[in-house]
Each structure stands twice: as structure tokens, then as C-alpha cells.
Symmetry: C2
Subunit: 225 residues, 2 copies
């Protein structure tokens, strides 16, 4: 397992953010290769990257010569390859719960709101920005309403989505809350989600994975002299 880990990432991609969290939770070091989704016509469409990821999406993880795609598949790979500090609980029942929470975000919120979809609305249907933003909020609200119920009504929910150790569902939730705040979703309607997010953000694994901490994030405005 001494082979190099290399993550193709974009600072604001929430799918890449999930994998950064997972790598950090495992304590794995990795090289980060930024793929700028906007600059140069979108570097994800350039031949070199498209060969690795024919979907033209981030993230892609390379482990030695192996190429892995799809953030949740990558998190499962990390868990199977480095079983310490597990991202999934032990029993089939609990694993199904954590995977379902993860997929609620990864299948039913995020794919509806990512860059390629918002671009389609802008370029093909000329949907105004205000309506695109309302679309984004609509699916976050739909998903978070269900997720809040699932988390709040279950004794297995602890400091984190599942008990007292952060895992896959938290790695999906925190980037989605980041997006929710960015698009102005009122998080006071989701107290359990907000509480878990705050607990996660206490941890260096989450903080160091955050968009603003990435080498490809735009530089903050310098403080005035």
C-alpha cells in the first residue's frame, strides 16, 4: 500500500471535497492535482484528463497505476484498502444506513445541482440566474428535509451522522451544507444537520479538506494596510 495516492480535485467540487475528507480521516497523504472546471474551457474536458475520466468529472483518484472514479466508490475503496479508522460501521444494517444517507446526498441532491447542470440551464434553456439558484435550493431543501428526519428520529445518530466517529455520511453531508450556505438555504430548519456539520468542522480532517484550504482556491483579498 506504499503506492502513491494522487487526487484530481477542484477546490469547490463537493464530490472532490468528500474524497479529501475521506483521505484525511484515514490519515493518508496524497498528491493533489487541481483540475480547474472553469478556466481554459474547463480542464476536465482536456484530453489528458478525459482519458482518466471519460465522464469529464472530478474527482479521480489514482493509486499507483489504478484509476478510480466516483466519489462514493472511492470512499469505499479507501475503507476496504485501509480498514483502520473505518468510514463505514461494522454491521450490514448500519452500513446500509450510512450508505443510504450518503446516497441521499450523492445521488438525490448533488447531481441535480452541479456545474454541468447549471450550465445546461444557462446555455440551452436560458434560465435566469435567480431561477437557477431557486432550483438549487429546491433540491437541497427536499433532501435536507428527509435527511433531518432520518437523523433526528434515530437513536444511532450521535455527535456525527452515525454514532461517535465521523464517517462516510459526514463526508457527504459537510460539503453539501457548504453548498447550501453558498446558495442561501436557511439552515435553521435543519438543526441536527447543522449540529453535525459544526461537530465535523471542529476536526482538522474536515477543516483541511475545505474548499478555501485548497491550493487551487482563489486567494483571499489581502487585508488593507
Amino acid at each position: 500500500m506504499a503506492e502513491l495516492l494522487r487526487l484530481y480535485s477542484y477546490w469547490r467540487s463537493s464530490a472532490a471535497y468528500r474524497v479529501r475528507i475521506g483521505l484525511n480521516l484515514k490519515g493518508l497523504s496524497y498528491d493533489l492535482i487541481p483540475v480547474h472546471l472553469v478556466r481554459d474551457g474547463g480542464q476536465q474536458h482536456h484530453d489528458e484528463y478525459a482519458q482518466l475520466n471519460p465522464q469529464h468529472l472530478v474527482p479521480t483518484l489514482m493509486h499507483g497505476g489504478r484509476v478510480m472514479r466516483q466519489s462514493l466508490a472511492i470512499l469505499e475503496y479507501l475503507d476496504e484498502s485501509w480498514p483502520e479508522r473505518p468510514l463505514l460501521p461494522a454491521s450490514a444494517r448500519d452500513r446500509a444506513r450510512v450508505r443510504a444517507l450518503s446516497q441521499l446526498v450523492g445521488s438525490d441532491i448533488h447531481p441535480l445541482n452541479n456545474l454541468r447542470v447549471l450550465r445546461f440551464f444557462e446555455e440551452e434553456w436560458m434560465v435566469p440566474a435567480v431561477e437557477r439558484d431557486a432550483w438549487v435550493r429546491h433540491w437541497i431543501v427536499e433532501g435536507f428535509r428527509a435527511m433531518e428526519t432520518l437523523l433526528a428520529d434515530d437513536l444511532v445518530t450521535g455527535t456525527y451522522c452515525h454514532g461517535e466517529a465521523p464517517g462516510m455520511a459526514d463526508a457527504c453531508l459537510v460539503p453539501q451544507v457548504y453548498n447550501a450556505r453558498r446558495f442561501g438555504v436557511d439552515m435553521s430548519a435543519y438543526p441536527t444537520i447543522a449540529r453535525i456539520e459544526q461537530a465535523c468542522l471542529q476536526l482538522p480532517a474536515f477543516r483541511q479538506a475545505s474548499p478555501e484550504q485548497q491550493p487551487d482556491a482563489p486567494q483571499a483579498e489581502p487585508a488593507r494596510a
Copy 2:
């Protein structure tokens, strides 16, 4: 494991179709409870079902008293609970491949095209049917183009998506091809996908899971006397 399996399903839901395939591949018998997504204002919104599935989506699987949601999480649960006739291969690397193919469909094609999204376009944005159908085809084509490349360029692809036994990726692919045909996608551009679909449809596990075989499917027109 003698506890009853009960699947809440809708005949034409491709997420439910995946789970029906998985149950059949495992040789597990189950009770099927139809949830009609259109009739009665959508039975998925009725209190009794929404208690089981706060997302108001199908499928939901009950195993004894346990409630499982999200089709791919359910397929993983089946594989962990009944390891015979595995839906995933053995090595972490191969599992990552099959999960990525499954999520390509389950995250990046299907959620963009399901009933609640098409309804949003119709009811909120008044998008004409012809444009809604073009949207559906757009995301299928985007996804299938990548999937065809991933399948055609890999020696691990066999009769099925991964080698010589059908599994999770096939359970995702076949329902998506069903949708593609329904919306008029030209499958001749995806010869590997089409070949695998045909191989799957030779198997009773897939044929018996098909929408038209479901008890809640509309009756075919009777043949003329």
C-alpha cells in the same frame, strides 16, 4: 435470515427495478408492495409510506423490522447479508470499478431524469414535453458515452459489465437502457452496452424483474379475437 423481505416498488421506477434484479440474482423471494407514483396524487406521498421513506421515493426494502432505502445501499446490503452469488467482485480494485459503473448510472444519469424532476419542469418552469424529453436523452447520452468507453476499453468487461457473472453494474445498466429506449435514444452508438443488455435479458433474473412483468404494470391490450 429467515425474516421476511418486503419490497416497496413501482413497476416503471428504474431504482426499484435494480433492486428487483438484485433480489432475483440472489434467488431471494420477497413480497412486493406496489407504490403507485402517479395514482391518488402519488402514493409515495401518503403518510404510511412517507414514514418509511421520508424522501418519498421508491424503493424501500424491509427485512424483518429493518427499513432500508436507496437502491445501491440496498444492493450492498443484499450482498453483505447473502454473500452467495455476489453482486460485487472480490478485490477492492474490482469492487471500485463496479461501484463506479453503478454510480455513473445511479448518480449521474438517473436522478436527473426521474419523475420528480420532470414534474418540476412541467409544473414550475412550464417546459414543453419535447424539451423535457430532449433533456432526458441529453443526460443518458452523456452518461452512456462515458460508460461505453469504460466498458469497451477494459479487458475485465466480459459477457456482463464485469466478467462472466452478472452483478451490481448490470442491475443498474439494464433499467437505464430500458429508459433510454423509452425516450428514443439511438442505442447503436453504444454497442457494448447494448450487447451486455441483451445478455442480461437472456437471464430469468432480469426478465422477471422487468417493468412489464410487475403486478402493478398496466395490463397489455388484449389480443383481438
